[in-house]
C-alpha cells in the first residue's frame, strides 16, 4: 500500500513538469506584448521597457525563461506579478476563498446528490423519481453562466434571500449561493449516477440474500445497496474535481468572489505568464493528490481492488 502511494506521488513529477511546460509555452506563444499592455495607450520610455523586460526575464529565450521559473519554484520564490505584488502572497489570499467555495459545492453535490439519488432509485418510477429525473435533465442542459445569472437575479435581487455578490467580505454564508450554482450541474450528475447504480444493485443477488438473512430494510439499504452504489459515484466525484476548478472561473466571475478563478481570469487577460503558471501548477497538484485520494477511497469501498501489487 505504502509502495503504491509512493509510486503515485512519484508520478506527480512528470505530470507536473509536463503541464507547467505546456502552460508556460502557451503563455509564451500568446500574441501581444504584456509589457506594452501595461502602459495602455501611453508611449513609455524604451529604457523602462527594456528594464521591465529584463526584470521579468522576457528578453531571454523560452527555455531559459522556463528554467528560471523552475529554479524559482524550487526555491519557493514565485516572484512578483506585473503589478509588483508577490505571487505567493496573492495565491495565499485567493486559494482559501476558492477552497471554501469548492468544499461547499462538493458537499452539496456529494451529500444531497447521493441522498436524492438513493431515494429516487429506491422508489423507481414513482412521483419523486420522475420529478428529479426531469429536473436534473433541465439542470444539466442549462449552461452554468445562465443558471448563475438567473439565480443571482431571482434569489439575490428579487427575493433578497442572499447577497447577489460576495465582494471582499467572504463567509461560508455568503458563498452559499455561488457554491450552489457551482455544484448544481454535478449534483444532477451525481444524482443520476447514484440512482442508476442503486437500481442496478437493488436487484443484485447479494441484496436478495441479505433480505433472506432477516435483515431489516434500513440495514439492507445502507449496508448493501448504498455502500455498493458509492463505487462509481466516488470515481465520478474525483474526476469531476477538474470541472469544479474550471467552473469556479465562471461562478466567481458572476458573483464577484475574490478567489482563484477570478485571479486566473485577470491574469489570462493581462498575459501574466508567471501568475497563470503558478495558479495552474497548484491546480495540477490539487488534481493529482485528489485523484490519489479518490483511488484510495475506491480501494476502501471495493476491497477487490488492491494496490499492493
Amino acid at each position: 500500500m505504502i509502495q503504491y502511494i509512493l509510486r503515485r506521488l512519484l508520478q506527480v513529477i512528470p505530470v507536473f513538469l509536463g503541464t507547467t511546460l505546456l502552460v508556460y509555452y502557451m503563455v509564451f506563444a500568446l500574441p501581444g506584448d504584456p509589457i506594452a499592455a501595461l502602459f495602455g495607450d501611453r508611449q513609455p520610455n524604451p529604457a523602462v521597457i527594456a528594464a521591465l523586460r529584463q526584470q521579468y526575464n522576457l528578453d531571454e529565450p523560452f527555455w531559459v525563461q522556463y528554467g528560471l521559473f523552475l529554479k524559482n519554484l524550487f526555491t519557493f520564490n514565485l516572484g512578483n506579478d506585473f503589478t509588483g505584488q508577490p505571487i505567493a502572497a496573492t495565491l495565499g489570499r485567493v486559494f482559501p476563498v476558492t477552497a471554501m467555495l469548492a468544499i461547499e459545492a462538493l458537499v452539496i453535490q456529494g451529500v444531497f446528490g447521493v441522498a436524492a439519488g438513493l431515494f429516487a432509485g429506491l422508489r423507481k418510477g414513482k412521483l419523486f423519481d420522475s420529478t428529479v429525473l426531469i429536473t436534473s435533465l433541465v439542470v444539466i442542459a442549462i449552461p452554468t453562466f445562465v443558471l448563475g445569472f438567473v439565480l443571482q437575479l431571482v434569489v439575490g435581487v428579487q427575493l433578497g434571500w442572499a447577497k447577489p455578490t460576495v465582494g471582499a467580505n467572504v463567509t461560508w454564508g455568503t458563498l452559499l449561493l455561488p457554491a450552489f450554482v457551482l455544484g448544481l450541474v454535478s449534483f444532477a450528475y451525481v444524482l443520476r449516477l447514484t440512482r442508476a447504480s442503486v437500481i442496478e444493485n437493488m436487484n443484485a443477488d447479494y441484496v436478495r440474500t441479505a433480505t433472506a438473512k432477516g435483515l431489516s430494510r434500513p440495514r439492507v439499504v445502507f449496508a448493501h445497496i448504498l455502500r455498493n452504489s458509492m463505487i462509481p459515484v466516488a470515481t465520478y466525484l474525483g474526476a469531476n474535481l477538474g470541472g469544479l476548478m474550471g467552473g469556479a472561473i465562471v461562478t466567481e466571475g458572476i458573483f464577484n468572489v475574490p478567489g482563484v478563478g477570478q485571479k486566473l481570469y485577470q491574469a489570462i487577460l493581462r498575459s501574466e505568464g508567471p501568475t497563470i503558471v503558478a495558479i495552474v501548477s497548484v491546480f495540477v497538484l490539487i488534481f493529482v493528490v485528489a485523484n490519489l485520494l479518490v483511488d484510495l477511497l475506491y480501494a476502501w469501498l471495493d476491497p477487490r481492488i488492491r494496490y499492493d501489487k
Partner: protein
C-alpha cells in the same frame, strides 16, 4: 395450552402437522403485456425434518415457488391465489415486518450462485455477524467462527477476516450455507445450492448440508434441475413443468415409475442416470469400425483408424506477476500426451483449473504452447505460417460454452453462420445462402431463423446456431469447450443427440472438453482425465467408467449425483 394441541402431540407427536404446506398456489408477474401466470395450482407439503425437492428446467416456476415461501418474489410478482402455510400460519400475504421476523431464524435460504450472492465489499465474518445480530443471537468473533467452522470452513477465525473474492466457489458456498443455517431455521430453502460447483465439491457440500440439517432437524426445500441429485438427496420429489406441479411422490417411486410424460422424458434424458453412449451409429446398423474409417476409405488401410490429432508432451506455463519485475511460473498444462482418431470423440474431463480448456485453446492454435507438439494430420501446427494457419482454422472449428456470449448480438443468424464462409472466400452470395440453409436444416432449425438475432433465440437454439457456424467450413475436427454445460437437461440431450448424429453423417472428430462425467458417458469413445494440469488417466470410456484406475477418477465418478441409485436397466436405458 389448549387441549386439542396436547391431543395432537399425544396422538402422533408434533410431526403430524406439516411445517410447510403450499396449497393451490398461483403466482403472477405484472409485465408490459399484462399479468403472466408463472405458477398455477402448486401443491407441496413438507413435514418437520423432511427434505423435499422441486425438480424442473429453467422457467418451470420452481424457484418462484420457493421464493414465494420466504416472501422474496421480485417486485412485479405476487401471490394471486392459494395459501402458503408455515406451521399453520398463512404467510402468503404476510406483512413485511412479519417476514423479517421469520427470515433467518425460521426460514433460512441458501441461494444458487456463490459468486454473486455474497456482497463483494464486506468481509465474510461481517456478513455472518449481521445475520446473527439481526436475529438476536450472540454475534461475537467466536460465534461467527463457530458458525463458519460448522459449515466446514477450516481455519474459520482467519477466514472470517477475508473478503468473498479471496474464497473459492466451494468455500463461498460453504459460507452461504453457514449464513443460511446460522440461526438454526426450521425450514431451509436451498435453491440449486451446488449447481455452479465442480462435482466433487458438490458432493462434499451436499453431504455436509445433509449432515447439518439432519442434526438440527431442519426441513429442507431443495430446488434443482438435476433429477439424479433430487432423487439421491430428497425424501420426496415434486416435478414442475411450465408452472404446474405435474407429479409428486417419494423419490425412488417417482424415478422408477414416472407416470407423467414430462417426468418420463426427464428420467430418460437425465445424464446422470443414463449409462451408455448415444449409439446413433449402431442403431443405424453401422459398426463402429466402419465409422472409424475415413470417408475416402479406399485410399487408407481400412483396419487401421487414422490418427488425426496427436498431442505430444504438451505444456503451458503462465507467468504470474508477483511484484514489480518479478513473476512466478504457473504450470497450467504439464506434459500432456494423447492422440485422437478420426471420426471418434475424445473427452477431456477435469474440474475447474485442471487445464482442460488451456489444452483446447492450444489445439485451436489460439495459445502458443510452452513446450511440446500438436500434430494435426501429420503436420506440427507450430511450424505453420500465417497462410497455413488460416487453412488450418478451416479444418478445426470450435464450439464454446456460453451461447449467450459467443454469438455477436449485432449479427443476425444468417450473417453469423455465413461469416466464416465469407472470411474464407467460399462461393458467391447465392451459394453461401444455399449453404446456410442446408446448415440450418442439419441442425434442425427452421430456415426462418436466418433473419432473427441471438437474443430472440433460446439457449438450445443458440447452441444449434453455434454448431451450424462451426460446420459451415466442413471442418474435420470440432473442439467443443463445455458446449452443453449451460443448457437444461432436455435441451442438453437434444444437442448431444444432434452432435452424435452429425458425427455419424459427416465423419466428424470431436474433442470434447467438459467437467460433466455424465455427458462424457453419453458422447465419448475415449476419455482423458486431467487434474491440476496433468493427465492422470486415459482410456476408452467403458474402461474408465467401469474400472477406473486412479483415485481421482474414482472420486469424480462417485461424485455424480444419482450414480449410486440402482435403477432397473429399462429405466436407465429408456
Amino acid at each position: 395450552m389448549t387441549t386439542p394441541d396436547v391431543r395432537i402431540s399425544e396422538a402422533g407427536g408434533p410431526a403430524t402437522r406439516p411445517l410447510l404446506e403450499i396449497k393451490d398456489l398461483a403466482i403472477s408477474f405484472a409485465t408490459g403485456g399484462g399479468e403472466v401466470q408463472a405458477v398455477r395450482n402448486a401443491h407441496l407439503t413438507i413435514m418437520p425434518g423432511e427434505t423435499v425437492a422441486i425438480v424442473g428446467e429453467s422457467g418451470s416456476g420452481k424457484s418462484t415457488t420457493a421464493l414465494a415461501a420466504i416472501g422474496l418474489l421480485p417486485g412485479n410478482g405476487r401471490v394471486s391465489a392459494g395459501q402458503i402455510l408455515l406451521d399453520g400460519e398463512d404467510i402468503s400475504h404476510a406483512t413485511e415486518k412479519r417476514m423479517i421476523e421469520l427470515r433467518g431464524n425460521t426460514i433460512g435460504m441458501v441461494p444458487q450462485d456463490p459468486m454473486s450472492n455474497l456482497n463483494p465489499v464486506w468481509k465474510i465474518g461481517y456478513q455472518v455477524r449481521e445475520t446473527l445480530r439481526a436475529n438476536g443471537r450472540p454475534s461475537g468473533p467466536d460465534d461467527v467462527a463457530e458458525v463458519l467452522a460448522e459449515a466446514g470452513l477450516p481455519d474459520a477465525h482467519r477466514r472470517a477476516k477475508q473478503y468473498p473474492h479471496e474464497f473459492s466457489g466451494g468455500m463461498r458456498q460453504r459460507a452461504l450455507i453457514a449464513i443460511g443455517l446460522s440461526c438454526q431455521p426450521r425450514l431451509l430453502i436451498a435453491d440449486e445450492p451446488t449447481s455452479a460447483l465442480d462435482v466433487t465439491v458438490q458432493r462434499q457440500i451436499l453431504d455436509h448440508l445433509e449432515a447439518m440439517t439432519s442434526e438440527l432437524g431442519t426441513s429442507v426445500l431443495l430446488i434443482t434441475h438435476d433429477l439424479g441429485l433430487a432423487a439421491e438427496r430428497a425424501d420426496k420429489v415434486v416435478v414442475m413443468y411450465r408452472g404446474n406441479v405435474v407429479e409428486a411422490g417419494p423419490s425412488l417411486d417417482l424415478l422408477r415409475n414416472p407416470r407423467h410424460p414430462y417426468t418420463q422424458r426427464l428420467v430418460a434424458s437425465a445424464p446422470s442416470l443414463a449409462s451408455r453412449r448415444i449409439q446413433v451409429a449402431k442403431e443405424m446398423g453401422v459398426e463402429s469400425d466402419e465409422l472409424l474409417a475415413p470417408t475416402d476409405a479406399a485410399v487408407q488401410e481400412p483396419e487401421k483408424a487414422e490418427e488425426v490429432l496427436r498431442i505430444e508432451n504438451l505444456s503451458k506455463v503462465f507467468k504470474l506477476r508477483s511484484g514489480i519485475g518479478r513473476s512466478t511460473d504457473f504450470t497450467a498444462v504439464d506434459n500432456v500426451s494423447f492422440s485422437v482418431k478420426r471420426g471418434t470423440t475424445t473427452a477431456i474431463v477435469g474440474e475447474s483449473g485442471s487445464g482442460k480448456s488451456t489444452v483446447a485453446q492450444m489445439v485451436l492454435n489460439l495459445l502458443t504452447p510452452t513446450s511440446g507438439k500438436i500434430v494435426f494430420d501429420g503436420v506440427d501446427t507450430s511450424t505453420l505460417n500465417n497462410k497455413e494457419i488460416f487453412a488450418f482454422r478451416r479444418r478445426v472449428q470450435p464450439i464454446f460454452q456460453d451461447p449467450y456470449g459467443s454469438l455477436d448480438p449485432m449479427y443476425n443468424i444468417f450473417r453469423t453462420i455465413e461469416e466464416p464462409l465469407r472470411t474464407h472466400k467460399v462461393g458467391n452470395r447465392a451459394s453461401r445462402e444455399k449453404k446456410v440453409r442446408e446448415l440450418l436444416d442439419q441442425v434442425a432449425l427452421p430456415q426462418s431463423t436466418m433473419q432473427r438475432y441471438p437474443n430472440e433465440l433460446s439457449g438450445g437454439q443458440r447452441q444449434r446456431v453455434a454448431i451450424a457456424r462451426a460446420l459451415a467450413l466442413d471442418p474435420e475436427v470440432i473442439i467443443c469447450d463445455e458446449a452443453v454445460s449451460a443448457l437444461d437437461v432436455l435441451v442438453q440431450a437434444q444437442v448431444l443427440n444432434l452432435l452424435a448424429d452429425l458425427q455419424s453423417k459427416l465423419g466428424l472428430t470431436y474433442l470434447f472438453i467438459t467437467h460433466d462425467l455424465a455427458v462424457v458417458r453419453q458422447i465419448a469413445d475415449h476419455v482423458c482425465v486431467m487434474e491440476k494440469g496433468r493427465l492422470v488417466e486415459t482410456g476408452s470410456t467403458d474402461d474408465v467408467f467401469d474400472s477406473p484406475q486412479q483415485d481421482y477418477t474414482k472420486a469424480l465418478l462417485n461424485a455424480i449425483p444419482g450414480a449410486q441409485l440402482m435403477l432397473p436397466p429399462e429405466v436407465a436405458r429408456a
